[in-house]
Symmetry: C2
Subunit: 189 residues, 2 copies
């Protein structure tokens, strides 16, 4: 069943988002692992915002010391515009980018350095029936290694989901920090 | 001639980037003014990076106190991947987003607030034959007013172009702060 679903997914992508049986922009294998996402694909998705909590503002020990550039797959973005809700099959990608220079001709500040990590969250009743809101969270990298792993297992519910449930504004997503999502929520209802 | 060019441009967009005579993702009128860009369109373009030079890191008087979310039109991005150069007709859009909250469950930092401005730069030998590199710079808003104007005149060369010429890494574009452009430059040569 999953193999069929994956084939449908790739067909859907090749057809440039024409209507198909699946709106999934990701592949999950029979071990419930997420397959590595291609930067050539998700960098063409819809950018939603960039939170920044650098080490030098967190006593040198930030939990998330990088720029987080966040994208949503275009089909789920279109659905969010039409309904104000994240559909089943939504995927949000978070690229981790190091803090680069702290000064430029434009002034003192924070400037993006290099890509150092890749994470994602997926809403799927089919794959994650027991996760709150059906959201699961993944990382293809670790703070110790910037190497992209070919597969990622979902984190435990406590690792990510609990905090998202408590503090995220809209269905486990921190839309309070993503101005594009706030601006487009239900805009085409 | 310009009217014809604009019609071609719109046809090209409707055809979802199929090959046409024009790759222009903008409209310039007979007074050389740039027509207001639609957020529903450019937010689907390719995101390249977000510089941040907030007031509180610049003695309360930053020249650019907002987050700058920068996008490039997808046809020019594809050309940049193939050749490593920005084609004639390139447009980069800069959305200005206010500094919002400075703390979240993830730590102390900078979080994006609301949209407060819109700027753009265009490379065109046809429209801007006398500008260095054929790049012209526009703003649809001013620091005094967040209202989006329906048209924008190009700034004088001294206002923007001179600094870009002196300090930008790649053909007047600050790619040193745009990791996506650095990573994809000539990637598909």
């Amino acid at each position: 069943m999953r193999t069929t679903s994956c084939h449908l997914m790739f067909s859907s992508m090749l057809l440039a988002f024409s209507a198909t049986a699946s709106n999934e922009n990701f592949t999950i294998n029979s071990n419930n692992e997420l397959q590595l996402l291609s930067a050539d694909e998700y960098r063409l998705w819809v950018y939603v915002g960039t939170p920044l909590t650098p080490n030098d503002m967190n006593n040198g020990k930030a939990a998330f010391p990088e720029f987080h550039n966040v994208y949503i797959d275009p089909e789920s973005f279109a659905h969010y515009e039409k309904t104000g809700e994240f559909p089943d099959g939504t995927i949000l990608v978070k690229e981790l980018v190091s803090v680069g220079p702290k000064a430029a001709v434009s002034g003192q500040g924070y400037f993006q350095g290099e890509f150092i990590g890749l994470e994602a969250t997926i809403k799927s009743k089919n794959y994650f029936p027991n996760e709150p809101g059906h959201w699961a969270y993944f990382s293809f990298t670790s703070p110790e290694s910037r190497k992209l792993n070919p597969m990622a297992k979902a984190f435990s519910t406590e690792s990510c989901n609990t905090c998202h449930a408590a503090a995220a504004q809209d269905d486990f997503v921190f839309t309070q920090y993503y101005p594009v999502l706030r601006d487009h929520k239900g805009k085409k209802k």
